[in-house]
Structure formats: C-alpha cells, structure tokens
C-alpha cells in the first residue's frame, strides 16, 4: 500500500495562477476595448453633430430662400441621420450594460446622444413647417426592466410601427433614468409619471399601448395617411 500520497500542490497553484492570468488578460482586454468603444462613440457623436448642423442649416436655407424643391433630398438625409443616431443609441445602451470602468463617461455620452435626439426632434418640427413634411413624432419614455417590465414589449411594438410607417413616423426613445434636466422638463411638461409612456405629438399615452392604439393615434394626425395606416 502507498505510504505517502502525492499532492500536486505546485500544479494547483500554477493552474490557479494561469487561470487568474487568463482572466486578468481578459479584463485588461475588456478595459482596452471599453476605451476604444468610448472613442468610437465620441467619433460618431462628433460626426453626427456636424450632420445635425448641416441639416439645421439646410432647413434654414430652405426657409430663407423658399427653395422647397430641395426639401425631399434634405429630409432623406435628415431621416438617414436620425436612423443612424438611433442605431448608435442602441449600441450605446449595450456598451453601458457591459461597462466595467467608464460608467461616468458612458453616462455623459448617453446624455449627449439624448440631447442630440431631442435636437432632431425639435428640428423635425421645423422640417414640418418649412417643408410641409407630413410626419408624426413620437417620444417614447422607457426605463429599466425592473421599473418597467413592459418596456421591452412596447419597444417591440414601436419597432413594428416604425417598419409599417417608415420615414413618416419619427420615434425618439428617451431613457427616463437619465440625469438630464431636459428629460425632466419634458416629463414634467407631459406629466409623465409611469413607464412606458408615449407622447404622440402632444397626446400622452401611459402604460403599454397596443399597435392598434398607436396606429389609431398616429394615423389620425396625418394629412395624407401613409400606406401603413391601412393596416390598422
């Protein structure tokens, strides 16, 4: 029988060390990637700020010179910028979830993106006046899964409505948790106290709203309802 059994202590320690190194390497890589993500978002933000300024100037130009023949082209670019902005917002949300180090930076970026969205929201009002764009604007206030279990369902339905009405519906998603005074101003103005909440132009709908109800509300606001309204 074996008198003294062998214990591979050195291998236990070495395995622990290597495991820790792999994880630390992963963490380090994560931090590097996070820094790159911040840079990426800042770059896109800079680009989008220029795009916004361009759109703003274009509408000002049309307004001052009454050059309405340019409206269609300007709105196309405007809508494309807005779509990209929303994609970046979605990406930002995901990066915030994964964030380990740059919470404050991401929070600041999120505020920046929200303000950018609200600028577009306001500019879209100008687009309607200047170019007579027949669009309906929707502000969508959402929160965390814990605070707002139905926000995921609402976002899904809004995405569907967007697919149906395309560029004729402009949906701006606003994170209600954001410590941004402008968001508070909007919430107070529209008396938003629960989530999800939708502000369709000036009408407020609180709680989960079905696609039929959204389409009913949105389509009633068009002068020339788009094809998608026939779906309701």
């Amino acid at each position: 029988m074996v008198s003294v059994r062998r214990v591979s202590t050195e291998k236990y320690v070495a395995a622990g060390f290597i495991t820790a190194v792999i994880f630390l390497l992963g963490l380090f890589l994560g931090f590097v990637i996070e820094g790159k993500r911040v840079n990426l978002l800042q770059d896109i933000e800079d680009e989008q700020r220029v795009e916004f300024a361009s759109s703003q100037l274009q509408y000002a130009y049309v307004q001052s010179l009454q050059a309405r023949e340019s409206c269609a082209g300007i709105y196309k670019v405007f809508y494309e910028n807005l779509r990209r902005l929303d994609q970046t917002r979605y990406r930002l949300e995901k990066y915030v979830q994964d964030s380990r180090l740059n919470d404050a930076t991401f929070e600041l970026l999120k505020r920046d993106y929200t303000l950018e969205q609200l600028r577009y929201w306001m500019l879209s009002g100008q687009a309607r006046e200047v170019c007579d764009e027949d669009v309906v604007r929707v502000l969508y206030f959402y929160s965390t899964d814990e605070e707002c279990p139905r926000c995921g369902d609402q976002a899904f339905v809004l995405n569907y409505v967007k697919g149906l009405l395309q560029e004729r519906a402009l949906i701006f998603a606003i994170d209600a948790r954001l410590a941004e005074p402008m968001v508070d101003v909007l919430e107070r103005q529209h008396n938003i106290t629960s989530y999800p909440s939708l502000v369709i132009e000036r009408d407020v709908l609180s709680g989960f709203v079905s696609k039929e109800a959204i389409l009913g509300e949105v389509c009633g606001k068009y002068e020339r309802p788009p094809e998608g309204c026939a779906e309701k």
Partner: protein, 417 residues
C-alpha cells in the same frame, strides 16, 4: 435573475477553466517511465462474467474470454447467472460445451444485482487475480498478459484497460466513440497522479487479495459498484493503474432513451458514492484523489447543471420573448424585417467571452488530438458531423442526464441497477 445567471456563468467559467488548465499542466508534465513485470510463470486468473438476461450478448463476450492468449490451465472462468429469465444459461452452456477441458463454471443464483453476482464469483475464485467482464464487451487476445505486466508493485490493486465503443452506428454512438477516447486520455492523466476514481466493468484485473481485504463488492444494489470499489481501494491506499496498450471494446447505447438511462445511473451512482466517501474530500492523506478528483466528480454535476441551465435560459429567453411579442403585432414578421438592418462593429464583440472560448477550445483541440493519437485513431474517423456534435452538442445531452439526476435526487426517487 440576470445577475444570478451571470454570476453562475462566471463561476462555471472560472472553475471549468481552472480544471482544464490543471489537466493541461499534468499533460505537459509527461508520463512516468514505463515499468513492466515479466512473469516467469503466468499466475492463476479468475474471470467473472455476471449475466442477467444476456441471451443476446453472452456468446460474444464468452468467446472473447475463451479466445484469450493465456495458458488454459491458468485461467478460470465463472459465469454467474443473476436470476436470468431468458435463455442466458442455455446459451452459455452451449458455448462452453464447444470448449471441452476449459475451466468454465456456470453458477445460477437469485437475482441480487451485479455486485452480488461478482461476490458469488469472488467467493469461489481460486485465482491470484480476479477479472470482471461485462456482458457487452470484448477484450483483445493478448489483453490479459499485457494487463498483468503492469502489476509491478504489491500496492497495485487493479489495472484497467482502455475502453472503446464497439462498432458505432448511430450518431449518438459515434459521439460516444469520441467521448470514450477523450475520457480514456483523461484517465491516463489521472493515472499519472494516482487518482483514478472508477474501475470500469470491461476487463479490469484486480488483485484478488486486495478485493477480499477491502471487503468484496457492494452488493446492496449500488448503482455504480465499480466506482464504489475504486473509492474503497483508494481509501485503503491501494494504487489503481490505467494501462495504455490494451483496449476493451464495449457496446454503447444506441438510442437516447438507453443513453439517458445509462448516464442517469452512472451520474447518480457517482454522486451517491462520492457523498458516502465525503470524508476523503480535501484530505491530503488521499493525495490528489482527495484533493482534486473527488471534488471534480461532484463539481462535474454542478457545472453541467449550471451550463445546461444557462444555455437553456439564454437560448430560450429571447426566442420565447420574440414569440410572445410577435403576438402583439399579429405575427407580421415581414414588416419587422423591413425595418431590420444589420449594424455590426468589431467592438461589439464580447472579448472576454471570446478569450475564454479560445483558451478552452485551444486546450480541447490539443486534448482531442493527443487522445486520438493515443488510441491510434483519426480525429475525423467517425465523420465530422459527429465530431462537431461532440464538441458543441454532446455536453448538452449530458446536461439533460444531469438534470434528470438532480430531479430524481430532490424527489428522493430510488433507482434499480
């Protein structure tokens, strides 16, 4: 839920990586120099074949043992019919009659389980060495001589052959073929640390004296009497040796139902026996067996359950969510797709998960290559489909068996062998 799920996933990832790295280090450390015993005179060996309703398979197994390249006068064969209700005995008698002069006995007893049948044989065994042989297995001709050559020290209580799946046909059998090869490779690594935890049924050679000293096989319907015997031998500070040049072929379950029943029994037996021997856990007196092997057996189930539940949770949740939400839009998928755009960026990738996966897959690839080389087999021998299935789906299938074990244990359900 997400926080708990993420925490469990990280726990499983860290522990899995730790064990993978540990065994990788054992692999890199190299093997001990091979020492073989040259017998001047071959010892008397008893081969015990417990059989319960094995009419279909007894012939192949019995013929395989009778065909062993070993002096006939040094080989005693005992077939123990464990209360069969079919023609097992008649079939065995028919085969034996074709080998006059061979020392083959057929003993019938009331059904008492495999442990009881082995004890019946052990009580009558005259051999210095005692071999157990499952009736779904075959051994190579020179297997016994090769295995006996490993008995170089008195403290070696058992030497076991490698195992391989006999003629795999179904996809499940082909995946088991790969699993056995990888498992055998791990067993050779365990052997290097003297921490083997199971002596499988097909053709292990025991030192009869050691078996009698530790008190025969557990006849109380132990689900894995072979594992229990290995634990007992380890507890009594005997050594178990994994041979690397002998292979026993065994038939593996063909259908999922058979597979589930087998693995449920194995896993449950492993949990129950490890719990019975829990005093050995983390006890340095039992070397690496107590420090790493027993915790691994317990953790294997826990990790399997965690990974299985995580996979189900993270796969099913989005599918169910989308399915449920589609109901709100009257399942108008086309409109949703019109608004869909693929927006991917290299920075969206979860690099931590990628790093862990690459580390694990890299080590798995090396293990896969080395294990197949050990068994002189090609990695793609059973086809790429079964290999990919083994790598990415097989552990999910094992997870189902572990879930079954967990449910049975929680419900206190008893299981017969």
């Amino acid at each position: 839920m997400n926080l708990v799920a993420t925490g469990l996933l990280w726990f499983a990832a860290v522990v899995s990586l730790y064990f993978a790295v540990f065994w990788f280090l054992v692999l890199l450390d190299g093997d001990r120099p091979a020492v073989r015993r040259k017998w001047k005179e071959w010892p008397l060996v008893t081969v015990a074949i417990p059989a319960w309703n094995e009419e279909q398979d007894i012939e192949g197994t019995l013929r395989s043992v009778l065909a062993l390249d070993y002096p006939a006068d040094r080989l005693e064969i005992i077939v123990v019919d464990d209360g069969s209700k079919d023609g097992t005995v008649v079939r065995a008698q028919g085969i034996v009659s074709g080998f006059p002069g061979r020392d083959v006995r057929i003993i019938s007893q009331e059904n008492g389980g495999k442990g009881s049948a082995l004890n019946t044989a052990l009580a009558r065994a005259k051999g210095e060495f005692f071999v157990t042989m499952d009736v779904d297995s075959f051994i190579q001709k020179d297997g016994l001589k090769r295995l006996l050559a490993y008995f170089v020290d008195r403290d070696i209580a058992a030497v076991m052959p490698l195992m391989a799946v006999h003629e795999p046909k179904s996809l499940l059998q082909k995946m088991q073929w790969t699993e056995y090869i990888v498992n055998m490779f791990y067993k050779t690594l365990m052997g290097r640390l003297d921490c083997l935890h199971v002596v499988p049924g097909p053709f292990p050679v025991y030192r009869t004296e050691a078996l009698r000293k530790v008190g025969m096989f557990d006849a109380d319907h132990n689900l894995t009497e072979d594992l229990e015997m290995a634990y007992r031998l380890q507890k009594n500070q005997y050594r178990l040796v994994q041979a690397t040049d002998v292979t026993a072929m065994t038939k593996s379950p063909f259908t999922f139902r058979e597979f589930y029943a087998q693995r449920n029994r194995w896993f449950k037996g492993a949990v129950q026996n490890t719990w019975s021997y829990r005093k050995l856990l983390f006890d340095k007196a039992y070397g690496d067996f107590g420090m790493i092997q027993l915790p691994t057996v317990l953790l294997a189930g826990v990790l399997s359950l965690i990974l299985f539940s995580q996979l189900v949770y993270y796969s099913a949740k989005p599918v169910l969510e989308v399915g449920y939400r589609l109901w709100f839009v009257d399942f108008d998928i086309w409109t949703l797709l019109r608004n869909f755009s693929l927006d991917l960026h290299a920075l969206d990738i979860d690099y931590m998960a990628v790093l862990l996966s690459v580390a694990m897959l890299g080590m798995s690839a090396v293990i896969l290559w080395r294990s197949h080389r050990m068994m002189s087999a090609r990695v793609s021998e059973q086809g790429w489909i079964s290999l990919v299935g083994f790598l990415f789906a097989y552990y999910l299938v094992l997870g189902v068996a572990w879930v079954g074990v967990f449910v049975d244990l929680v419900r206190g359900r008893r299981q017969k062998w």
